[in-house]
């Protein structure tokens, strides 16, 4: 693609400054059902986004139709949307950062391993899952996907940035039967190298997880000391991170408005953004071309910064924190590799002092059960009782409810069981002094 042609056309149409983003992706995937290769998928995709400034207003457009007429469509789209914008302030295109922390996280070995080998691995995985315990009745699905992405940014100030990455994701679901009771569980593994996939641990997590659900019942409603598994804590924490987005704060939608520099959580809470960690979420520039940096968001309970793009940074008179994201024709904010500092204790040590509590391992329906503005939430949950410092009987059909901000003030501690979740949050299991459980 001749990007210079785009900039010429934009200039000729009165677009003062502009940016072009080209994202390409290639995927290969397959699924296994009952010992057979059931599905196979490949794709090769492109997306071209453009934005530009006309009379101080930002306009944008996007297309997947590369080729003839593509640049004309993009330029026309910018002109149209800039014309009707009533957004306050002078828009501008970020020229470029002084320094970028570029790293090569692309792993060529992943794509070079023949797909046949990966299919064989998946087929043998299915056999081993079934052999784990006689109650494992079915492997409901095994799915594998690998993806290569390339993203490039060009702007009319001469900036050129390119980042290339790849990853794999392996999913397996299993069902177990005991009498007429059926229980289900799934496990996911992902990374940039297949060497990080630990088959034995994968099978153990999947199978132990499903077998532990037999005999599950609701507990009595009440308030309990509550342990949230790292993946559950990550789902909740995601809403907290969302309220540190400057745009939410500036328009009064965030609970954290006016709280910069104040204590908003227990001193045990330290949250950073580490976009430069060399994992599957690594990136060294944001959608505006701003260099990404690692930084603390909350340190020992004190709110250190909001997350900014160039537009919201201008409003507060600060620099962008490299969190700009173009979405649906507007400049929004996003984040990656949120790191929540864990503890030193093992899981068993952490719960050793809990006389009667609840250990939540799964939640459902948070998307609608969470009021992201007030932090009030209520959702369906599964897990276990904790009695005299030990995990005991399984729980199902219970609800977990509380307030997110209050919860972060009532932290007893963390264990050292760190996990990188698919929502790009790294955290450990957390023990909260008290949460509401709805059951019998």
């Amino acid at each position: 693609m001749k990007v210079a042609k785009f900039f010429e056309l934009a200039k000729a149409n009165g677009i003062e400054e502009c940016q072009l983003t080209i994202s390409k992706s290639k995927t290969t995937g397959f699924s296994i059902f009952h010992s057979e290769l059931e599905g196979f998928q490949i794709s090769d995709d492109i997306s071209i986004k453009a934005c530009g400034v006309v009379n101080g207003k930002l306009g944008s457009s996007s297309t997947q139709k590369d080729g003839k007429g593509c640049f004309e469509f993009l330029v026309e789209g910018i002109l149209k949307s800039a014309k009707i914008s009533e957004k306050e302030g002078e828009a501008s295109i970020f020229p470029g950062s002084k320094k970028y922390h570029k790293k090569n996280v692309f792993n060529p070995e992943l794509g070079n391993t023949p797909i046949e080998d990966k299919i064989k691995t998946a087929l043998s995985l299915e056999k081993e899952i079934l052999a784990y315990d006689s109650r494992i009745s079915e492997v409901t699905a095994i799915q594998y996907e690998e993806k290569e992405t390339v993203s490039e940014i060009y702007n009319s100030h001469g900036l050129k940035l390119k980042d290339k990455g790849n990853y794999f994701i392996m999913y397996a679901g299993a069902a177990a039967k005991d009498g007429d009771k059926v229980k289900e569980n799934y496990e996911i593994s992902y990374g940039t190298s297949l060497s990080t996939y630990n088959k034995d641990e994968f099978i153990k997590n999947l199978c132990d997880g499903v077998l532990a659900k037999f005999g599950a019942d609701a507990c009595n409603s009440g308030k309990y000391p509550t342990v949230l598994k790292n993946s559950v804590f990550a789902s909740l924490a995601n809403y907290f991170i969302h309220s540190t987005i400057a745009e939410e704060v500036q328009r009064g939608s965030s609970f954290l408005a006016g709280k910069l520099g104040t204590k908003i959580a227990s001193t045990k809470i330290t949250i950073s953004e580490k976009p430069l960690l060399p994992n599957i979420f690594f990136s060294y520039f944001d959608d505006e071309g701003v260099a990404k940096e690692n930084k603390d968001i909350v340190k020992n309970g004190v709110l250190k910064t909001y997350l900014y793009n160039t537009e919201t940074a201008k409003v507060d008179g600060v620099e962008s924190t490299g969190n700009g994201a173009y979405a649906g024709g507007r400049l929004a904010t996003s984040y990656s590799n949120i790191y929540i500092k864990g503890g030193k204790a093992t899981f068993d040590e952490m719960i050793s002092g809990v006389k009667e509590g609840v250990y939540i391992t799964e939640i459902q329906g948070l998307g609608t059960g969470m009021n992201p503005r007030s932090g009030d939430f209520s959702c369906q949950a599964q897990g276990f009782m904790i009695e005299d410092g030990k995990v005991t009987k399984p729980l199902t059909l219970i609800t977990l409810s509380g307030n997110l901000f209050k919860m972060l003030n009532e932290v007893s501690g963390f264990d050292n069981n760190e996990k990188l979740t698919l929502s790009s949050i790294i955290c450990s299991d957390i023990l909260v002094k008290q949460m509401s459980i709805g059951g019998k």
Binding site: L37, D44, T63, G367, Q380
Partner: protein, 468 residues
Amino acid sequence: MISKSLALKVLNECLATGGDYAEVYVEETTNQSVELENGKVNSSSESKSYGVGIRILNGFKSVYGYTSDTTQSSLMNLAHSLAASYNGARTITVEKIAKKRVNNINKIDDHLIDVPVEEKIAYLKECTEAAQAVDQRIVRVVANFSNSHREWELFNAEGPVGNQINNTEERGRMFLLAMAVGEGGKIETGTTRPGRYDGWHWFKEIDYKGKSRRAAEIAIQSLTADECPSGVYPVVITNGWGGVLFHEACGHPLESSATSKKQSVFSESIGKQIASKLVSAYDDGTLPNEWGSNNIDSEGVKTRKNCLIKDGICKGFMVDRLNGRRLGMEPNGTCRRESYKYEPTSRMSNTYIAAGKDDPEQIIKDTKLGIYVNDFGGGSVNPMTGEFNFSASEAYIIRDGKICEPVRGCTLIGSGSEVLMNIDRVGNDVDLGQGNCGAASGSVPVNVGQPTLRISAMTVGGRGGKLE
């Protein structure tokens, strides 16, 4: 969109290794969106989604690929790579492609794509003003109008004569969010989100200002509502969007993608009672101009009205071609996808519980102590166990047959099979509500629907203690 001769070549390349069905789906969609924040245009966009999806079936197996590069070499390469997954000999040679006529049941004269953006902005300003006028505590109103115009073309073949099918889909949706701030900085919201497969006149004819006002009123009401109690109570659920319960608890487990692999609580249920005798339910993709309707499905099968439950007895599933093979059932026009990036599969369209005989007011009158749910945020279900959850965004306590104080933070949980059996009253006021349903083949527009109905006992989760 691509030439017939190219389609013929690609289909034959697909079938070279023993595949017994091949399809080429070509799509070009234009999406327009404009959003106002407190009455001022905050963003607008026009974007194009464009590409081709190719699928080859062989018995119970399928291979799928897509690309946004629609040149001959790219499509032939994709077809070749996909076909390489099978190692049989050719059984089908496609000799010609015949154009299949599609009956347009969703007629539109005033296309949303032709409406000047200034007119949409003026409309959204009226919505915003209506919401803002409700109360000074409404501090933020976001109003959005988005519409899509999709042209798609399907070439498919399972014998020497292939089909060419062309279809156009046009949908629009208004969305308004009103945010209220109360004492101590407490924030609550209310929304309205009407949508339809229709032209601009429909959006002008509905009571859009009333709907916007109502969204603001809900936000204000929630500021002072008490926490919902928890326990097991009779629950009365409103008509229209209340049908999301049925969608989650019963609709998803009746999709053949779940039943064909025996991965649904209803896999073996045809001919058996799965719901109270008062319940009959349908999935109907043919309702003219409804949000979830279509002229034809994603694999070229005409949409139709499918009976799922009749008087409590399970009568059928949503069946697509591939899963139909496992089940030994014919596809019934329910195969859908978000875009060319998704392999299509059986999905719901407009799915609803049919009207019963009760007067909705009488249902409330006959409830001594319970919960009345007037709006849901949404929910999810595990199709294998049927366990689900819903979160109510507007709920009230029913006391002595009257709707009393509002409550917030209300979650309903249970299992689909139990709840369906526990429906003890069904109203005569069936209505539909619009949603976007996310599943294996992406996010697709669906209508949920039902009359006012009562579930005799259901687990309610909230933080307000026991109901007294």
